[in-house]
Symmetry: C2
Subunit: 87 residues, 2 copies
């Protein structure tokens, strides 16, 4: 499964959320990461983040693409992520 | 086509980018909007944003989902967008 993660968390927790998410996914842009995960690693990522965020203030949204064949990406401006995008 | 837009732009242009994107899409979370667009309105949105951003500093990334049947979303924490999500 291909996962896009976007987070909107309090500045006090941004570094911890980003550091944790980067253990699983590739950084794409400010507050956005993506990558291919198994069901198990996706679950582990969610567990890790649940322990960090404040559920009354923070928001972490996942888009799970079952099939990237039906998804395109398009960029205006500069590419910020340092690593290669998978698809 | 269903479009997810994530932006990472200089603070001087954030308001203008957000205001423009909201004319076409629903605000979901800080720096993230989404919605159903036609090819023509998607093109119009890109044209409008191209006139606002500095392509050497700003980044606007679109994910275009041809078929939302293969896409799920999952949220940790609070739902920030005020409007109903379409899918």
């Amino acid at each position: 499964m291909y996962v896009i993660l976007v987070y909107d968390v309090n500045v006090n927790r941004v570094n911890k959320v980003l550091k944790t998410a980067r253990r699983y996914l590739t950084w794409v842009q400010n507050s956005v990461l993506e990558g291919e995960l198994t069901e198990a690693t996706y679950r582990a990522l969610k567990n890790d983040l649940t322990r960090i965020i404040d559920p009354e203030e923070d928001s972490v949204l996942f888009y799970i693409l079952g099939n990237t064949k039906y998804t395109k990406r398009e960029l205006l401006g500069i590419k910020k992520g340092g690593e290669e995008w998978i698809y």
